[in-house]
Symmetry: C2
Subunit: 204 residues, 2 copies
DNA sequence: ACCTTTTCGTAACAAGCGTTATTATATCGC
DNA sequence: GCGATATAATAACGCTTGTTACGAAAAGGT
């Protein structure tokens, strides 16, 4: 019983996600959120709690609806394809919407006042989760001979995500898709070759 | 004539720089700046103008006193050494101070409200300057045969700085120096080899 | 020793922030 | 239709933001 909600909670969350994506946690004001969602302040509070919990829910949604290219890449069959999937996915997502470039996971709260500390911590933890999943995938590849036996999988995971983050920073600065795709391809140039094939290179 | 200043302008600017470095442009409040500099608000205004001009002066100082590892790297003798100098320099600076990790050029204003737009634009322009200088250096290397004739120097410059930015993001998340150094080394694995030497690789 | 000039520090400004009381409105069970 | 319940929107809350009047204090020139 009671009055029924006049707005769709998921639509409102999606709109709020967009604001956080563009302006970050602290840069997004409730005035912005009200305009973007079309929902008045008290309704946002009753539906999502305070700003921090709203941001966390937006991050959840971002992880499952936008940053899902990472788990998708992890399911690819070779470590190199995984790395490629992450990098190309980062380029694609970071440039998909011209009004919210870059990555919410990076834009959200890189630096800020003390009040943004919990949001920052949540983003750091989320990025660390992705990195751990990537590292485990590379470790599996190493055990399967898909990566050289002496590969440093933690470094490879950190490297791939570092490039992805750098791409997100550059996308936020307005870099073109083509430029960033070239960066991603360059990043794959030094990818370790599997140890059980004979490779001979020669350049003039 | 007139009363003499009781604080050192450069010391105050240095302290303000530290606050911007840690909290970014919008995250740094005048309350923070007053505490860090030991200078009251009106004195900061009379010495530096408003918050935006204070930030721009802090960025200038950052460029010349901290981010000078980039022009230093550019003076190295080979393109690979240049890339190494930028990447290792980014790691070193991003982890030099435990209370202000990462890079002011990235932390300063990646995302934010509309009021941070000019600070964002200044940071973007500054990073673009560094990238252009790096690209020109690589073009010189290419013309000297230090890089292959078909090298895409714009991509190489964007790539090196993308990794540097990604390293800065990870440093801000608390990554250890050793981890980031390993990332930087991995980033150099695919660096193009000079075209006038015969290279033969063989792995078992 | 005064007068001018510059800086200092307190205190205030309007505007914006995140958050919430409060009242009105719409829906459901009976 | 009536009472119970949940949401709607207006309006305000206290606090912080960046910025600035204002009067007190200190320095130099004549």
């Amino acid at each position: 019983m009671g009055r029924t909600r006049t707005f769709d909670v998921n639509e409102a969350l999606e709109a709020a996600l967009g604001v956080f994506w563009r302006k970050g946690y602290e840069g997004a004001s409730y005035a912005d959120l009200v305009v973007a969602t079309g929902v008045e302040r008290p309704a946002l509070y009753s539906a999502f709690g305070n700003k921090e919990t709203l941001f966390l829910r937006a991050l959840e949604r971002y992880a499952s609806n936008y940053a899902n290219y990472v788990p998708a890449a992890i399911e690819r069959s070779t470590a190199r394809d995984v790395a490629e999937g992450v990098l190309f996915g980062a380029v694609e997502l970071s440039t998909r919407f011209s009004d919210r470039t870059g990555c919410l996971g990076v834009n959200g709260a890189l630096a800020g006042s003390d009040e943004a500390e919990q949001a920052r911590a949540a983003l750091i933890a989320w990025r660390a989760d992705g990195e751990a999943a990537l590292r485990r995938r590379f470790e599996r590849a190493r055990s399967e001979g898909d990566l050289p036996a002496n590969s440093d999988c933690a470094t490879l995971a950190a490297y791939v995500l570092a490039v992805a983050h750098g791409i997100a920073v550059q996308a936020k600065a307005g870099f073109a898709v083509d430029t960033l795709m070239a960066v991603a391809r360059q990043a794959l140039e030094g990818w370790p070759r599997s140890g059980n094939t004979l490779v001979a290179e020669q350049r003039l």
